[in-house]
């Protein structure tokens, strides 16, 4: 028996070896390079291989970095909140109210935004939200407002709107899957045991959908915190997020060690937040057999 398992294990390892090596090369090597850079000294046009903690000291004491980091966290938290709150009703509708034979059509429609590049979608939001954009010209044309609204472009609101739209499908799908897995008899049982539809949702549907909601939170939160394009375009470059700061250090200022230290710091913060969510999720996941 043990021998057979060994052979099976060997076979398994042999199977995953090529992608594992590939992942090591493509993923781990750059990460390790960045980590190594973050402890090196910046020279003129080169990176000097002298070990130092100066970069981290600078990152952790610079008030600008702190402001941008907090803004990034705040923006992605807001984006996550908005996205998940908007995604839940959509996922609920598709799972509970759409006829089974229509569900795949709905999922297909939800993925339509992905048919075009992220960059183009962000540009389109600029067109919609801009000073002379769709919203403003419509509203002024209808005489509802006299002057174009300025609070919808080049600020945090517009970044949140754009990112929430971009990541909506990523939030809808995991929540949809979690809702689909709920045995409908459980909802009838909730009603049968005397609870109204609203209370049944609160006591049965929502707790059982939580793994999907938490997955959606992670899937939206992690990439948005590092988003570079939207703050650059929609924020007009005036409200940078952490990725923009890294870009400036890495390319514009050619201070790769400092940029690396910023990147590692951001990664550590994201990792920390993710671990917290994973721990919460374990509470919900363990009840599933």
């Amino acid at each position: 028996m043990a021998k057979g398992l060994d052979a099976q294990a060997r076979q398994g390892y042999a199977l995953i070896a090529p992608p594992f090596l590939y992942a090591l090369l493509i993923l781990a090597a750059p990460l390790l390079t960045i980590l190594a850079y973050s402890f090196m000294t910046d020279g003129y046009l080169e990176v000097v291989r002298d070990f130092t903690l100066t970069n981290y000291v600078q990152v952790w004491t610079d008030p600008i970095v702190r402001t941008v980091m907090l803004r990034s966290l705040m923006v992605s938290a807001l984006v996550t909140l908005v996205t998940v709150l908007l995604a839940f009703p959509v996922a609920y509708y598709v799972s509970f109210l759409v006829r089974p034979e229509r569900k795949s059509l709905w999922l297909f429609l939800i993925t339509i935004p992905f048919w075009t590049s992220y960059l183009i979608r962000v540009f389109l939001w600029k067109v919609i939200l801009g000073y002379n954009g769709v919203i403003n010209s419509t509203l002024t044309g209808l005489g509802i407002i006299d002057e174009p609204l300025t609070f919808i472009l080049y600020n945090v609101n517009s970044i949140v709107i754009t990112l929430a739209h971009a990541y909506a499908p990523f939030a809808i799908l995991p929540i949809f899957v979690a809702l689909e897995k709920i045995d409908r008899a459980l909802l009838e049982a909730g009603r049968d045991l005397g609870e109204s539809r609203a209370m049944t949702f609160w006591r049965v549907t929502l707790p059982l959908a939580m793994p999907g909601v938490l997955a959606a939170v992670l899937i939206v939160f992690i990439p948005t915190i590092g988003d570079y394009v939207t703050p650059e375009l929609i924020g007009g470059g005036k409200i940078p997020m952490i990725a923009n700061l890294i870009q400036v250090q890495m390319l514009a200022l050619d201070n790769r060690p400092l940029g690396a230290a910023l990147a590692v710091t951001a990664m550590a913060i994201v990792a920390l937040v993710s671990i917290v969510f994973l721990l919460i999720n374990r509470r919900f996941l363990k009840v599933r057999s």
Binding site: E188, R191, D192, S289
Partner: protein, 373 residues
């Protein structure tokens, strides 16, 4: 089983349409308080639909349902005095056993300690004392079923609805739960309405059974009446094994029918032994259960009024029982078709299992026959 108990559930001309599909076709039914009532039928006969309309999960298209003399049309499922044990048990996977059982007690004004005691009592009643803190997903099928029972019964409903509750259990567990359910029902005195496709289960457990086909009640009777005097050939076919032989009606006086049965000879059957045939049957048919006739050895005597000679074609040994397929002498006389009949004999001590090809005598009584015409 007495008729003087007050009605708990009344269905009056209940119809249910799903688009073009007519699932319930005028159900008239009274279920009495404290009764163990079964809805029995093949899948798609509407029995589950009927149960779900009583529970309030389905609206009815026409007619009325009354529970405890109150009309239920406007009463949503969560306000009805019924609780259900679901086929899949529907145990909440995110809650412990105790939380599952206490689910319906949220709005109960009693204190926490009192509710905890209620939960303990309910769990003890279904034989799960001390299981309260277990995670629901860690339970076996039988245990889930018990949790579902405790969760429903703790609310002291007027009616407990059971939707094929035993179909997911293995045979031994199922037989054990059947007995436990009967005991539990007697103990709590609540009206039980059971939906099942298993005729044996219905016979074992019920005070009365409604056999349903295609959205209609084909027969409503106690288990013994249902088994011994099925109202139609279809019911007879559905419940247990029944042998069928063609018959020729010779005459009828005051409801007593005289018929000629090839292999059995002429018989006189009083009205209570005459039932409806299926519309698509070819002519009148005599039916009898395998255990109502007895194989008798050449030297044995018997007390049955009639006897017929036969040849054993097939022997199927079941341990406690042996089934014999017999060819009755003269059975093919009417139209040349050989109609084997199946007889079951209990393998009591001293009775040998007969061999294939043996000539034998079959002792029987006209009282055990049913005529479908």
């Amino acid at each position: 089983m007495t008729d003087d108990r007050k009605p708990m559930i009344e269905c009056r001309g209940v119809h249910k349409h799903y688009g073009d599909y007519h699932a319930l076709r005028g159900i008239d039914l009274t279920i009495r308080a404290g009764e163990f009532f079964s809805l029995l039928g093949p899948s798609g006969c509407g029995k589950t639909t009927l149960l779900r309309t009583i529970a309030g999960f389905e609206d009815i298209s026409d007619g009325a349902i009354l529970i405890d003399e109150r009309r239920m049309e406007e009463v949503p499922a969560n306000k009805r005095p019924t609780n259900m044990v679901f086929q899949s048990y529907a145990i909440f996977p995110h809650l412990t056993v105790a939380q599952n059982v206490a689910f319906g007690l949220r709005r109960d004004p009693r204190g926490k300690a009192e509710k905890a005691a209620l939960v303990d009592d309910a769990l003890a009643m279904v034989g799960l004392r001390g299981f309260g803190n277990r995670a629901a997903h860690a339970l076996s099928g039988g245990q889930r079923q018990r949790v579902a029972l405790a969760r429903a019964l703790i609310l002291k409903p007027k009616v407990l609805l059971l939707d094929e509750p035993l179909s997911a259990l293995d045979r031994k567990m199922r037989e054990q739960m059947q007995v436990e359910l009967i005991k539990l029902q007697r103990q709590v005195g609540i009206t039980f309405v059971l939906v099942t496709h298993d005729q044996e289960e219905a016979l074992v457990m019920s005070d009365r059974i409604a056999v349903m086909f295609e959205g209609e009640i084909a027969q409503l009777d106690g288990p013994e009446a249902l088994y011994a005097r099925p109202a139609s050939r279809r019911v007879a076919d559905f419940i247990g094994v029944m042998n069928f032989l063609p018959a020729r009606i010779l005459g009828e006086t005051d409801g007593t029918v005289t018929a000629e049965v090839p292999g059995l000879g002429p018989v006189e059957l009083p009205a209570r032994q005459v039932s409806r045939a299926n519309p698509d049957d070819d002519g009148p048919t005599i039916g009898f259960r395998p255990e109502t006739m007895t194989l008798v050895g050449p030297t044995q005597t018997h007390s049955q009024p009639r006897e017929t000679n036969a040849t054993i074609d097939e022997v199927v040994y079941y341990g406690d029982m042996t089934y014999y397929d017999l060819r009755l002498d003269g059975a093919a006389a009417m139209d040349g078709k050989a109609r084997p009949v199946r007889i079951s004999m209990r393998n009591v001590f001293g009775r040998d299992v007969q061999e294939v090809g043996t000539r034998t005598r079959l002792a029987w009584s006209p009282g055990s026959l049913v005529l479908f015409r």
